[in-house]
């Protein structure tokens, strides 16, 4: 696999889990690597905010270059992905199939540009490859394809299926006495799918506590506001009623997100749902809460404006 320039890896790897939050030996490996990295001198949150801005710029450039794709729901989940890939997940870009890795499953597969940007900035993919999004034979297919992209845990894009898959992965950890954790990112509109609730019921039934569902609750889906298309409320109560531990956070607030992931690790005997209240198109003024940018790429002019805002 292509190796990223060292400085890109350093800005990211040094934000992986601290030894204090996880003392197990397998984590110590990643942490030791992290601690040997150059200290940027920034506070962890500031550094993550900087990374989030970089990911947003990638999302704009990638979708504008491709001329299609889903910027809105990618931009809303940027802080969630930033916290996971640059702090929470134990994983090794140099060994994507490492058996003890934490698993991240992008159930809302249309946020592929965001996932690819994070994989590039963590060293799974060359950053230069990001401009091939949606091209014929690119490893960066329109929706994630497990068979061709390092770091992509599951083929997704047909909504509602990632949580079930995550349950299977989490159960395998129990059977194998492994300590990895499983994180599944869902969209709120995705929760219209009945299979999500089949999965929610069974995860609680099987008492799975190494599984976290994060719902990017940006309140918008293709045909409009959730409450108008298909009302989800009372949304947090639904997850509680299905037997989940529920944490609600501002999904753009990095300390809140990190605290929620910490809290989830302490919950035993049941899964945790983090309902992250977000803004679709977050970070680009004319895309925020604008459903037109769910599945439409910015024009070159719009991309210029967006990149100036994200400078």
């Amino acid at each position: 696999m292509y190796n990223l320039p060292r400085e890109v890896i350093l800005t990211t790897a040094d934000q992986q889990r601290t030894p204090a939050s996880d003392p197990s030996t397998s984590d110590a490996t990643a942490s030791a690597e992290a601690r040997s990295s150059v200290d940027t001198g920034e506070s962890p949150s500031k550094n993550l905010e900087r990374i989030a801005r970089t990911l947003r710029r990638h999302i704009i450039s990638m979708t504008a270059t491709a001329g299609s794709g889903h910027p809105g729901g990618s931009l809303s989940a940027v802080e969630i992905i930033t916290c996971l890939f640059f702090q929470v997940l134990r994983c090794r870009a140099s060994d994507p199939e490492w058996v003890e890795r934490d698993r991240f499953i992008l159930s809302k597969g249309h946020a592929a540009p965001l996932l690819y940007a994070a994989l590039a900035e963590t060293g799974y993919l060359p950053v230069g490859e990001l401009c091939t999004l949606r091209e014929m034979d690119s490893r960066l297919q329109g929706h994630p394809d497990k068979t061709c992209t390092p770091g992509v845990e599951m083929t997704c894009g047909s909504l509602g299926q990632g949580l079930s898959f995550g349950i299977g992965v989490a159960l395998a950890a129990r059977l194998n006495s492994q300590s990895y954790r499983v994180y599944v990112l869902l969209g709120d509109g995705e929760c219209d799918e009945g299979q999500v609730w089949e999965a929610a019921m069974s995860a609680a039934h099987f008492k799975i506590d190494n599984l976290v569902a994060i719902i990017d609750h940006n309140k918008l889906q293709i045909d409009g506001w959730n409450r108008e298309v298909m009302n989800l409320e009372p949304f947090p109560d639904k997850w509680r009623a299905f037997g989940w531990h529920v944490v609600e956070v501002n999904g753009h607030d990095i300390p809140q997100l990190l605290a929620a992931f910490e809290e989830a690790e302490q919950v035993k005997g049941r899964p945790t749902a983090i309902i992250a209240h977000t803004i679709k198109g977050k970070g680009v003024s004319f895309m925020e809460n604008n459903v037109d940018f769910h599945g439409k790429a910015p024009t070159p002019e719009e991309a210029d404006r967006a990149l100036k805002e994200l400078a």
Partner: protein, 314 residues
Amino acid sequence: MKEFSSTREAYGKTLLALGKENPDIVVLDADLSKSTMTQFFVKGFPQRFFDCGIAEQNMIGIAAGLASSGKIAFASTFAVFATARCYDQLRMCVAQPHLNVKVVATHGGITVGEDGLSHQSIEGLALSCALPGFAVIVPADAVETTQVIRAAAATLGPFYVRLGRPKVPRVLSHDYRFVLGKAATLRQGFDATIVAIGTMVSRALEAAESLSQQGIDCRVLNMSTVKPLDVEAIVQAATDTGAVVTAEEHLEHGGLGARVAQVVARHQAVPMAFVALKDAFASSGTSEELLQRYGLTSAEIEKAVMSAVSRKKR
């Protein structure tokens, strides 16, 4: 005297044996373990069994997750629910990533009987064969079922295995060896070939016996692997016998007949005839009543053979 036995019971017992041999075998069911016979495994290995309730889509997703983490995941329910009900899950979570999920569906075809059309899987082979990378197998009897299940466990990748509800006569000898992708010649002949699967294999043999008394010697192929097809055996049969008849407990379109016809048309065009269900749902009734009503009998196979033979070029 014919010896009848249940393919699903053979499945359940084989799963239990596999469970003892291989700790990576896991089994999932959707509230039908007493019917699919995964109950044998439940008793032996409760920690490796996951009852997903009446939620087939979730079951397939969980099976895929287990398989992607190194497990050999057998997922069972009735055939009608194991295909149509969770088709997109099979497509996205199993076929595309080519995961080690073995969908073993029982109660296939119309011989489910009295439960009626909601429970009769008449299109499951068309659906499963359309999934890229899937192996699709219909064992003829309990002897073959045991070996098919072992082959599925030993072969990386997705499988769809269709079993039936009623007991079926043993048609294969106890020393029969199933080979994935290979047809078994159960009777040699040079006037016509009957290619059959599942419940129709015993009827094909009956038809061949009757036809031999009328001077027509039929070759009978047990084409238990519907995908990937044994192209060589079909081409050889078409070449040697000049007429091919297929027999299956499935719709005429998209199943064994359609697949064999494609091979015959491409490689060695000869007259063909098809014994299968027409484009309609079936009624409630006993297995035997339904087979008679919908023409899945040895008599219909005989007629089909006569038809194909009569169309041979002299």
